[in-house]
Structure formats: C-alpha cells, structure tokens
C-alpha cells in the first residue's frame, strides 16, 4: 500500500529527504507533461519541473494540509511555468484577444475529425495525422492562463473545484476560461485545416471571429 501524500509531506517537512524523493517520483511525469504543454521545449520543461519541486521543498512549511498536496503542487508548477514564459516575453497575453462577448460558432470551426467516411479530403486526413503537432502549436498561441487551465483539465482531469483552488480563481471563472481556451484551440485548428499556414500563425484579431 503506497504511502499517502500527506504522510510523505509530513516526513519531508521534518527533514526526511527520502520521503520527499518519493513524492517527486510519484508526480514527476505528470508535472513534466504539464510543463511541456506550457513551455513547449522539452529541456526547458524538464528544468522547470525540477525547479517546481525545489520550490515545493523550500515552501513545504507553507503547505497547510487543508487542501490536497497535488493542487498545491500544480499551482507551483503552473506559476513557475508562467514566470518562465513571461521572462521569455514571446507570447504576451496582451496581444491575443480575450473577448467575452463573442459567441463562438463552433460549426464554423468544425474540424471534421469525426466526420463520416465519405469525407476523404486531403486536408482533413492530413489534419488527423498531424493533430498532435498542430495541437501543440495551437496551445502555444494561447495566453498562458488559458494554456494552464486547459492542460490541467485535460491532462489531470481536475474538477472545476480543484481548478479553482489550484489557479486561485472563482469557480465561475473556471468554466468560462476553459470554454474560451477550447474555443480558441478549435479556431486555431480550423485555420490549419483550411490550409492557410501563414494565417494560422497570426494572432486572432481583436473584436472579430478571426480574420478569414
């Protein structure tokens, strides 16, 4: 029977580095996967993951134990990733729209991933093959906060409540932020699908449903 997180945390807090090592081993791959989605570069993701665990250790005293360890761990992870991204300065969230009022029409952005067998257009087949790759690109174009919430939800299956705790936002914000993140990803993928690689790289313009 594996030792539960809180017990390991308690031991680690009193100086048991072996217990802390076990915690690291338990979560290393998951943390890495999220970091990879956030910062894209594998080596940077590895470095950021280690940095996150170092911070966890240093701030162990601050973990009150009233929430689950893993939401606390992911909070540190995403914040560390966001710091890295901001230092990079490449994908500034200011340049991409965050428009609450636009009702996204999903049908326009329909990817046809699950379309019937008759649809054998080359573009759609190619997209299916390259979906993973295009997804990474689409993710990289999201503002950091949208990226983070989407990754935590899809990779970890975090409930809205845990997402709210992890990201320190109200539960209502979780719902709308996730929706916006998904909508953006769908739109970006639809652009790739429409076979306009140049356009797909440009950020979505303000106030519109995207410049088609």
């Amino acid at each position: 029977m594996p030792t539960d997180d809180l017990t390991l945390v308690r031991r680690a807090r009193s100086g048991d580095q072996r217990a802390f090592g076990l915690l690291v081993e338990r979560y290393q791959k998951k943390v890495y996967a999220v970091a990879l989605g956030m910062v894209k570069d594998p080596e940077e993701a590895l470095d950021v993951s280690q940095e996150a665990f170092v911070k966890v250790y240093r701030y162990l005293d601050r973990f009150k134990g009233d929430s689950s360890f893993y939401t606390w761990l992911y909070r540190i992870t995403t914040n560390t990733c966001i710091d890295v991204l901001r230092r990079r300065g490449v994908n500034s969230s200011d340049s991409v729209e965050y428009d609450d009022t636009v009702q996204m029409d999903l049908s326009e952005a329909s990817l046809g991933l699950l379309s019937s067998q008759v649809d054998t257009s080359p573009a759609r087949s190619a997209l299916r093959r390259e979906l993973g790759e295009k997804l990474e690109e689409a993710l990289a174009e999201l503002p950091e906060k949208h990226r983070a919430i989407l990754l935590l939800r899809e990779m970890e299956g975090m409930s809205y409540e845990d997402l709210a705790r992890t990201l320190e936002i109200p539960k209502g914000t979780v719902m709308s932020r996730l929706f916006h993140a998904r909508a953006k990803v769908q739109r970006l993928l639809a652009r790739y699908l429409n076979d306009e690689p140049a356009k797909a790289k440009t950020p979505l313009k303000k106030g519109g449903q995207g410049s088609e």
Partner: protein
Amino acid sequence: MSDPHCTSVQELSAHLDGELSVSARVALEAHLAGCPACRARLAELRAVGVALRRRFETQAEARDFSGFAASVLARLQPYRPPLAERLSVAWEEWKTHRPGTVLGGLGLIAAAVVAVLLLPQPPRPGAVADTGRQGPSLEAVSTDEQSHIAPVVLKTEGGDAIIWLVDHPDRPSLSLGTDASVPEVTPPAAVRPKGGQL
C-alpha cells in the same frame, strides 16, 4: 450554420467536464438525443482533449526520469556535499596528508575532535602497494541524529573502526564560536593515533 435552439458551446464544454447541474444535464442530454450537430460538436471537443492528453503523456512516458529525483535533491543544497562524500574525501586525504588538512576538510572544530585510529600494523611508505593492502576504506558511515556531538564511525574491511566525534554539521557548536570552516586544525596534543606514524 447553427440552430438557435442548440445548446451554447459553453454548456457543451461544461457538460464535457461533467460540471453541469443535474437539471441542466438532463435537459442537454435530451437535446443531444435529437441533435446530431451538437453531438458532433461535443464529440469534437472530447477528441481534441483526448489528443492533447495523449500528445504530452506520450512524450512524458518516453522520457527517462531515472535521475530526476536525484537532480532535484541535489539542487536543494548547492554548496554542501553530503557528509558521506566529505568523509570519503577526507579519508583519501588522511592517507597522504597531515591530519590537519583532513580535519579542516570536514569543517570541524578543534576541541570537539577526537580521532582514534586503530591499525593492525604500522603503515610504511610504500607498504600499501607492497602488501597489496588497500588500507582501510570507507565502509559505513553512521551518525546519531539526536546528539549534538555526533559520533561518526568508519568501518573498514578488516573490521577496524575509526571513530570521529564531530560537531554535528547542521547544529551550532556548544562552546567555541569559532568558524566551522577553519582551514587548519590540529587535534589536541593529548590524543595521538596509535599504531604508527602518520
């Protein structure tokens, strides 16, 4: 084109996550039963999520994490090698240098150090190579976590024991207030290693 009676995309998103209220879910499922377009949209949302998860999980699985935890632990104390390593280095020094350097390398405080060295035969220059004896090697290191002055026991292959009493590295010294990184330290004159020259 989208049917105005169709569900909002935000609802589909919440439904995908199982976060709709019971009544909202029931209403949505009723709608989905009769609306292929919304079913398709929901399925697509799900497919993208699955693909995203698979993408990064696969890469994480493919990565070798065998040294990861060790690297994290190494980052925790950047300037201080572990005690065992310091002692091992110190032991190498002992074999060739004055004990002063040895003790200095451990960062010990003079008055707190007692070294008792037991050897089965006196070492002679070159004897190590001739007899084929390696000399005592660092077999085991143990510290008593509770004590302020910690006994450190080096066990050798031959069953000899070298016992150091060291000021515990992470606890402040009782009496002296001298800097723990004093480079040159000699043991008190009353104590001499037995069994031969140094």
